[in-house]
Symmetry: C2
Subunit: 418 residues, 2 copies
């Protein structure tokens, strides 16, 4: 037995041990993972939960097809945004009545930006991470032009200092819990405390956290939060997003897209808008029920799980993958911090031919994704990715790099989707 | 044979004749209509097209479940908003590249209101129908507060005069093609001409027209339009909505919800927003693919149909229903104009106990809906409702009224859904 074989044997044994240790979170049986696939892109589109196809078929053929308009009442489609919102709330540390599933993340960001701009006219400045997912930057710039807010891009590790400098002109800080490219986890509780010290609000973007990180919105003082439904929450492509408005801010939260679903009496068909005295005021128009109820079915995969355990398995997976990289002699620069407390649920590696490397991995059945300019991004969805797969992915990556498989023809760059 | 029997026989024969005359539009076989149901609520939630369940199952189990993230490219989920938009465009007289499926009607209205407010700062006034579906009023009021626009509610039959009086301060007029309660069809081409004479824009709300009326957006000069996907277009509950921006206005159309899906290079992940040089700039965040692709499958029911024929069948259905009311001696006041040119695809009748009458009809398998304060609203979806059913509905209504079935217990008022 040579040294490589010994290392592989050792890592294999370790994967087995870790999968056993974290078996409580193993929901693999609740998901469809195609044969021969190691799926490390659940941070872009979560895998299909087995509960979804039947649930969606019931919505189409029975609820819609047979019961027709009556299902708005009979199947309580009307309250699904709040019902599913409360379930997501349990996964991100939000008590009931503060989270509603509606629209897209972009639209929900817009609602918060405009609502905040009206809360205290003396506060006109907003801080945002320049490395935010671009839609956060775009929508904030647009909302700022509309409302008179002034935007300043400040990296999270400088945020607390800058917040103190700006002081009482500050209206809002906008930070993502996990950086979508590097996978770095930021201490939003600390940034939020700094914001609160000067009387400002904090908006958390949890797109790359919800369902993988043990977020504590209520306990950590978040004022607002948004997130999507199609990454770790596995709601399906373009599943609707959600918005959190802390109870104490709801009365002052004026949704600029004041659609009839946010009205206190939506069926009164009144001429004047009177916002619902609840999180329902964050709704706008009619939501996409097939996609929304797919998300509801998907969330059953989390039934009985504690987010602390989910987080522990996530950290174990990414930590073990880093261990495998070392063991197999893969020396690509890590864009993701190696320390547990600073890591989300993904590992990003730098490579000048990152796009082609991702394509070569896909040929081998390992699905990750590429992010500009040089990132190989591998997400470890804690409910269905195993430590054995983390090792397999590292081994495939080792072969791709050793044999320069990324130089094959047909792996040229083209557009991909987040 | 008594007189009632003779009348019924005559109407039955007439229904048969009209169904034969308008058979070209009969797509009943393409829809699921539950046994024993006369479905006259397709103007609220269209019936299930038979093509939908398999199409949605393919999206969930194969595209999402098996192909995972790759389907964004392989199944071209990315371009679905424009692809489905172009198909809807064919049904409302819009040439390709002007219509995109995205968000809800409320959100799309908001985009137009804010975009128009920035087009010509000298024009600050907006006219809207006080009898608009409430969300139009609510969202316009909200957008007006945000942008400085001034809103005036003017009934459509007074619109042309008022437009001329206001003149060059007018920015926009907002009118619905069909009144959602009374079913009255307005001459939006004439209102639009009046708006254009003073240099203002016209926004058409086509929620209650698209798929039933032969709308001609391009030919009749509409500047902007919005509509939902779940009424006559049969996309399913909460199917995403659509927005039309005439080609010549697209370059000046600045979508306030400047999400990454509207960017010229969405995968460039750039820090600055550069709107797509096309209707795609009206997109914001990621759309709900299950609901969107359900809508795409639903639209195949329109394949091979001319909207002129669809409109002719719709008018025949509602006209014949009025004839049945007369023949059967039902003398409830018509809220809907009897003249063909002034009628959408629904008939609304007034009754002081309208809610209970609608419930009593439902007990008999005739599904319509109630609208405040006193309207029995019956929609005639031209693709799957027959003249024979129009007669059957009138006969059921006759019995409900004659025997005062609406006074039965258990038919008390409760919330229903549009």
């Amino acid at each position: 037995m040579d040294s490589t074989e010994r290392i592989t044997d050792r890592l294999t044994a370790r994967a087995l041990l870790l999968d056993t240790q974290h078996a409580a979170v193993d929901r693999r049986a609740a998901f469809v993972i195609p044969d021969g696939t190691v799926y490390l892109d659940g941070n872009s589109l979560g895998a299909l939960p087995r509960a979804v196809p039947d649930a969606v078929a019931d919505v189409t053929t029975r609820q819609w097809g047979q019961r027709l308009i009556r299902s708005w009442n009979e199947s309580d489609w009307w309250s699904a945004p709040e019902r599913v919102g409360n379930r997501i709330g349990e996964l991100v540390g939000a008590g009931a009545g503060q989270l509603v599933v509606t629209d897209s993340t972009s639209t929900n960001l817009f609602k918060v930006f405009v609502a905040v701009s009206r809360m205290d006219p003396g506060r006109t400045r907003v801080l945002i991470d320049p490395d935010s997912f671009p839609t956060d930057l775009y929508v904030l710039d647009s909302a700022a032009r509309l409302t008179g807010l002034t935007v300043e891009q400040v990296h999270p590790d400088r945020a607390a200092d800058r917040i103190a400098e700006i002081g009482d002109e500050l209206a809002l800080v906008v930070y993502s819990s996990v950086d979508y490219r590097t996978g770095e986890l930021w201490d939003l509780a600390a940034i939020t405390q700094a914001a609160h010290r000067v009387g400002a609000f904090a908006l958390w973007d949890l797109c790359h956290s919800a369902g993988a990180i043990d977020v504590r919105l209520d306990d950590d003082g978040a004022d607002f939060a948004v997130g999507c439904g199609y990454k770790y929450l596995n709601g399906g492509p373009g599943a609707p997003a959600w918005i959190y408005v802390r109870t104490e801010h709801q009365e002052r939260f004026h949704n600029p897209i004041a659609g009839w679903h946010g009205h206190a009496r939506p069926f009164g068909m009144e001429r004047d808008y009177d916002p619902a005295p609840s999180i329902s005021r964050a709704r706008s128009g009619t939501g996409p029920m097939l996609s929304l109820l797919s998300l509801e079915a998907a969330l059953t995969a989390y039934d009985g799980l504690s987010m602390a355990d989910v987080r522990a398995r996530s950290l174990s997976l990414t930590g073990f993958f880093i261990e495998c990289l070392g063991g197999l002699g893969i020396d690509l620069p890590l864009a993701t911090p190696a320390q547990d407390g600073r890591r989300g649920s993904q590992i990003s590696l730098r490579h000048p031919e990152a796009y082609a490397v991702v394509q070569a991995l896909m040929v081998r059945g390992v699905i990750g994704d590429f992010r500009e300019p040089d990132l190989i991004r591998l997400g470890f969805a804690p409910l269905y990715v195993s430590h054995a797969e983390a090792l397999a992915a590292a081994e495939h990556l080792s072969h791709v790099l050793r044999d320069k498989e990324f130089e094959s023809e047909g792996l040229a760059r083209r557009a991909t989707v987040t």
